[in-house]
């Protein structure tokens, strides 16, 4: 295989893992924007998506699509319960206690998953076929195409929700100014709950579509969550294209780094990028100066 083919290959795998990071990052950004909380349990929603699908598929013997729907529904319910039980009871929490609470929540969810489903690693069957397609000399799994397609759909749906529906606009209003949002009658607590519902649903979908490629287990949420967090930081915590670009960039860097330097550095790359961004451009790579008058 010549170099060009190899590079194309790296690009494909970079884009598909990048798409996953983007989805996970979106989950972070949605919650952060409506509540100011960085939800470190986001990765566990991703894990739940994959593990629950596997469980519904093999133990409950449900058809694949139904299993996915069950996984998304249960994860979403878990996300809502998480908000209700941990975030809402707090009267005026400090950012530090919120971080500790979400980390605690993630450890709890991981523990429960381990007790329920064991420590084994499982692969989900690919959505359609196992035969790689050849594009430009590089081979690509059909699952990659599914990942691109579903990611695009989710991003488009998000964009539509936040910019063209009254609930989405209300959520953006809330994230900008809670008092003013209450004054027009928006129930801020409902919007916080909604942000957890949306991001746990998006997270579980990400977990499902990547599971056929990378396997799933009770502890995959840690790494995936951190990568998604990186993507969101690169994108400046925007719940739009910034985070998506951040995810893709991270995926590409990882895949090229692993291919050209050493696969041992794959995970290190994400954290080097994260540190660099936090040192040099903490507002994110793509955030533009805002024109605003006060």
């Amino acid at each position: 295989m010549d170099l060009l083919q190899q590079l194309t290959q790296y690009a494909f795998s970079g884009f598909s893992t990048g798409a996953i990071y983007a989805l996970i990052g979106l989950g972070f950004a949605i919650i952060y924007n409506s509540t100011g909380i960085i939800n470190f349990a986001q990765g566990e929603f991703v894990m739940l998506g994959g593990v629950l699908t596997y469980f519904s598929l093999t133990v409950l013997r449900l058809p694949y699509l139904v299993a996915m729907a069950v996984a998304v529904a249960v994860t979403t319910a878990a996300g809502a319960a998480f908000e209700r039980l941990t975030i809402r009871p707090l009267k005026s929490p400090s950012p530090l206690s919120l971080v500790i609470i979400t980390i605690g929540g993630s450890i709890f969810i991981r523990g429960v998953a381990m007790l329920l489903w064991g420590k084994d690693t499982h692969a989900l069957p690919p959505f359609s076929g196992n035969d790689p397609l050849t594009v430009g000399g590089a081979s690509i799994m059909p699952q990659h195409l599914w990942i691109f397609g579903i990611t695009l759909l989710i991003i488009a749906a998000n964009k539509f929700f936040f910019y063209y529906t009254i609930s989405g606009k209300a959520m953006r209003a809330c994230s900008h100014n809670r008092t003013a949002a209450s004054l027009v009658g928006i129930d801020v607590r409902k919007m916080v709950l909604l942000s957890f519902v949306i991001s746990s649903a998006v997270g579980s979908l990400a977990g499902i579509i990547i599971a056929p490629l990378t396997m799933t287990a009770y502890d995959v949420g840690v790494m995936l969550g951190l990568k998604g967090f990186c993507a969101a930081i690169i994108g400046g915590m925007s719940s739009g294209f910034g985070t998506v670009l951040g995810g893709l960039l991270l995926g590409l860097l990882e895949s090229f780094g692993a291919g050209l330097i050493s696969s041992g550095y794959k995970d290190a790359i994400a954290f080097i990028v994260l540190l660099l961004i936090l040192f040099i451009r903490p507002q994110g790579l793509f955030s533009k100066a805002q024109t605003e008058r006060v």
Binding site: I166, K169, A180, L183, G185, I186, T291, E292, R293
Partner: protein, 247 residues
Amino acid sequence: MLRLKNINSYYGQVHALKNVSLHLAKGEIVTLIGANGAGKSTLLNTLSAITPARSGELLFEGNSITTLSPSRIVELGISQVPEGRQVFKPLSVEDNLELGAYLRARKRAEKGAIRDDLAMIYELFPRLKERRKQMAGTLSGGEQQMLAIGRALMARPRLLLLDEPSMGLAPLVVQEIFRVVEALRKEKGTTVLLVEQNAKAALTLADRGYVMETGKVILEGPSGELLENHEVQRAYLGKEKKEIWER
């Protein structure tokens, strides 16, 4: 229409409203004047249930609203235009107005009425129509004030609470905004509670006034009387004691 009985409210640890009682009749424009920190904004926020009253009673059209949530208050017909405008800056002008009708937008039957109201706001403030696709943060201070008022009106309030609408605005813009407030009363019978530091302009517009100092109402009466009151002249209208003495 609105009656406050012995309201006590806290802004953080500060006892910001001390046994405040006041009332508004339907269709009245009443102003609340006083220095910074007198508790005027806290009073409006207590009415909007943002800082709920610790004790006392709030009656709106005869019903107690003391313990209701902010959204219930808006639903009942009390809208606030907050201090410093507080428009949703990253959202477009039109989205801001649409969110003003947030509680109505969830009822299908209201769709047409909301569109009519939007047209009405654009007629009231033509400048907002020109800029309806623009981000609210890019508007000038006066335009943001108009937007904040428009947003509150989209909820079809029967009682409008205005918090320092003249703050930081050019006199001409203030005049335009006060003209709109007067027109609202005339055409829709909207009752208005106007909080102002610009006491002269406010008393000229309003029928009656209350003067607040350190959380208490210290004076009340028809605007004309307050304008003539020596204490008010000295403290809020910038007239020297000497000047008053000479007359």
